[in-house]
């Protein structure tokens, strides 16, 4: 081996030494938990909740992130199968693009339990547990109507157009708001789920009109972006409502800035998936239908102290 080879070897070994410990499997069964990212509070919360629930049931866990890349997700599932995973808990990388991957796991005898996002196929995953976005949007819109006193002008910030959840939430809002003719939408624009984009779009909208009473956003990141733009323009009284129940939004509600958000019980859903996976592995059935929807909850000033990380604590 050349001298340079030795140098490289030392660097690589040092790097690996820093992270050894994921180590060898005993007789424990492995549960793979694959989510879009670990650097986003929502996905992190569901990964951690699933991880804790699986460990508590005596599983070894394999936590992976696919970064919304369906090809990477396919490779991660390969790796999970190669490692001998007994079950997969998956927040997938695309309703259509994930079907073949989940089917591959099924064909290899490994059941998948989907959380948060649905698959455009049935009979491939054992369970699909998602939050009821339509019901959540109705809750948010009803609170919005109440805050505005059934009249005024508002802005709707829509999520990424290609995401089905953006459309479902927007429809949920619209179905409530159309009953109130005195509520007028001055703008309805997409901010692609992004905080920066929502901030800029809100600033642009404010250039045109200063008489805005409320902002209804398709998620909390956009709501926070809009809230920041409103505060910067000296308009703290505009009512902003978001969706997701992220810790940042809850903190904003506590500070008296954002008025409300719709909490998606991500942690509860992740735990339910693990419980059902465990039940399925022991008995061959979950005892539940494949498609399950979990209701969302409204978070306001009244109940914000009970909100944990994507779950509502009991009193």
């Amino acid at each position: 081996m050349s001298k340079d080879g030795v140098r490289l070897a030392v660097v690589v070994l040092l790097a690996l030494a820093g992270c050894r410990g994921g180590g060898t499997a005993g007789t424990q069964k492995i549960m793979a938990i694959i989510t879009p990212a670990h650097d986003n509070p929502f996905f992190k919360a569901e990964a951690e909740a699933a991880d804790a629930a699986a460990r508590a049931r005596g599983y070894q866990t394999l936590l992976l992130a696919h970064d919304d890349d369906a090809s990477r997700q396919d490779q991660l599932v390969d790796s999970a199968l190669a490692k001998g995973a007994a079950a997969i808990v998956l927040d997938n990388a695309g309703a259509d693009a994930s079907v073949a991957t989940v089917r591959k796991a099924k064909d290899a005898g490994v059941p998948s339990f989907l959380i948060d996002r649905e698959l455009n196929a049935t009979g491939v995953a054992v369970a699909q547990i998602v939050s009821n976005n339509y019901q959540g949007a109705s809750l948010g819109a009803q609170e919005f109507v109440r805050l505005l006193g059934e009249r005024g002008s508002y802005v709707e910030l829509v999520g990424k157009e290609s995401d089905t959840n953006a459309a479902i939430r927007s429809k949920g809002y619209a179905d409530v708001l159309r009953k109130y003719p005195d509520l007028v939408a001055v703008a309805r624009v997409s901010a692609n789920w992004s905080q920066t984009e929502a901030f800029q779009k809100m600033e642009t909208i404010l250039q045109g009109n200063h008489r805005i009473d409320g902002v209804l956003a398709g998620n909390d990141t956009m709501a926070l972006g809009a809230q920041a733009a409103l505060l910067a323009s000296g308009l703290p009284k505009v009512a902003v409502i978001g969706f997701d129940g992220s810790p940042d939004a809850v903190a904003s509600i506590r500070r008296g800035e954002m008025r409300a958000t719709v909490l998606q019980p991500a942690a509860q859903i992740a735990r339910a998936a693990v419980e059902q996976a465990d039940h399925f592995l022991r008995t061959g059935s979950t005892g539940r239908p494949e498609k399950q929807s979990v209701d969302c909850l409204l978070v306001t000033r009244e109940n914000d102290e009970r909100v944990g990380v994507f779950e509502l604590m009991r009193k």
């Binding site: 490289l8 992270c19 994921g22 490692k83 693009a97 290609s162």
Partner: protein, 334 residues
């Protein structure tokens, strides 16, 4: 000296492989190695095309987007067919012709890259950055941002068979591995054993001198970007076939992995120096890291750190080697 260069990358690969097989008993099993090669194939095919571009002194940032666009084109033709509204008919293509059309899309974008670089003298980095955006936008426009699902095809339309590209198996090895092997062999032959290959090295080493000795520099450049576009399109088609669905975001940041594989393999980013074999070994180093770290259950964040460390370390080692064996680094003029 080229032997030494090759050895160095092989040493890194052997080292990583032995570390992983020591840490995880599942690593050195036949099933895992086949899977690993199948995963590596995607990046390797991209990187083979990229090797020619980098050898010629250029860079191609558009490969990931081109992969996405080719996959989306195939998805569109398989799922919706070509709708000719004035005639009121829908034309359906067979799977082989869809594959050919997908590859043609890649070749076209590649040739466009080449033309931009040659005719307008825009720096390759900028020209291909532009096509990166254009191709990604075009991929999104094809479906309005949605996914083309269920690309298995329908027997009554005569367009089944596309998925063989991703799921086909010959002699117990999946199709992508065979493609990587065939393209690798072809690239090795072209780069090392043909006049064209020599000219690519010459252009990368000293474009001005290459022109003076009668090499048609513009043609060589046009050719390398076209090759890269072809390889990118093939990767995109394989991914769409594997997933049985075409997603417009497919291939985002793939260009970085491909460039990393080329550089890890000892090819100089300033052109004129490097080997095809090195690129393949480089792609395997990245693949072993990707899969091995997952198999070990290393946290995602550590995986990112380690990948970065290995890439930079390999290049540092490479430059030490270049200095000690050749004295001075090869110079290049625009």
């Amino acid at each position: 000296m080229s032997l030494l260069l090759r050895l160095r990358a092989v040493v890194a690969l052997a080292l990583l492989a032995s570390v992983f097989s020591w840490l995880s008993p599942a690593f050195l099993t036949q099933g895992n190695l086949v899977m690993l090669a199948k995963h590596v194939a995607l990046n390797a095919i991209l990187a083979l095309g990229m090797t020619f571009v980098i050898l010629s002194g250029g860079i191609d940032l558009s490969v990931g987007s081109v992969a996405g666009l080719a996959g989306m084109t195939a998805g569109w033709l398989l799922h919706d067919g070509l709708v000719l509204r004035p005639l009121g008919v829908v034309v359906w293509f067979s799977a082989p012709s869809v594959i050919v059309i997908g590859l043609l899309v890649g070749v076209t974008v590649g040739a466009l890259n080449g033309l931009l670089v040659v005719r307008t003298r825009v720096a390759p980095f900028i020209a291909t950055l532009g096509t990166l955006y254009v191709a990604r936008g075009a991929a999104l426009l094809l479906s309005g941002g949605a996914t083309f699902p269920n690309l298995v095809g329908r027997a009554d339309l005569g367009n089944t068979g596309f998925t063989v590209l991703g799921a086909g198996v010959l002699l117990r090895l999946p199709a992508p591995i065979w493609m990587m092997a065939a393209l690798g062999l072809a690239a090795w032959f072209v780069a090392g054993r043909t006049a064209f290959g020599r000219r690519v090295y010459a252009v990368g080493n000293n474009e001005h001198a290459a022109g003076l000795v009668g090499i048609r520099v513009a043609r060589i450049k046009l050719a390398v970007y076209t090759i890269s576009g072809f390889c990118a399109a093939l990767t995109g088609l394989v991914i769409a076939a594997q997933l049985q669905a075409a997603h417009p975001a497919t291939g985002e940041t793939f260009e970085l992995s491909a460039i990393a594989a080329v550089v890890l393999g000892g090819t100089s980013l300033s052109g004129g120096r490097g080997t095809v074999v090195g690129t393949l070994v480089g792609a395997f180093v990245i693949g072993v890291l990707n899969d091995g770290l997952v198999l070990l259950g290393v946290s995602e964040f550590w995986q990112i750190v380690i990948k970065g460390v290995v890439i930079v370390a390999a290049v540092i080692v490479d430059q030490l080697g270049a200095r000690s064996t050749t004295g001075t680094a090869p110079r290049r003029q625009r």
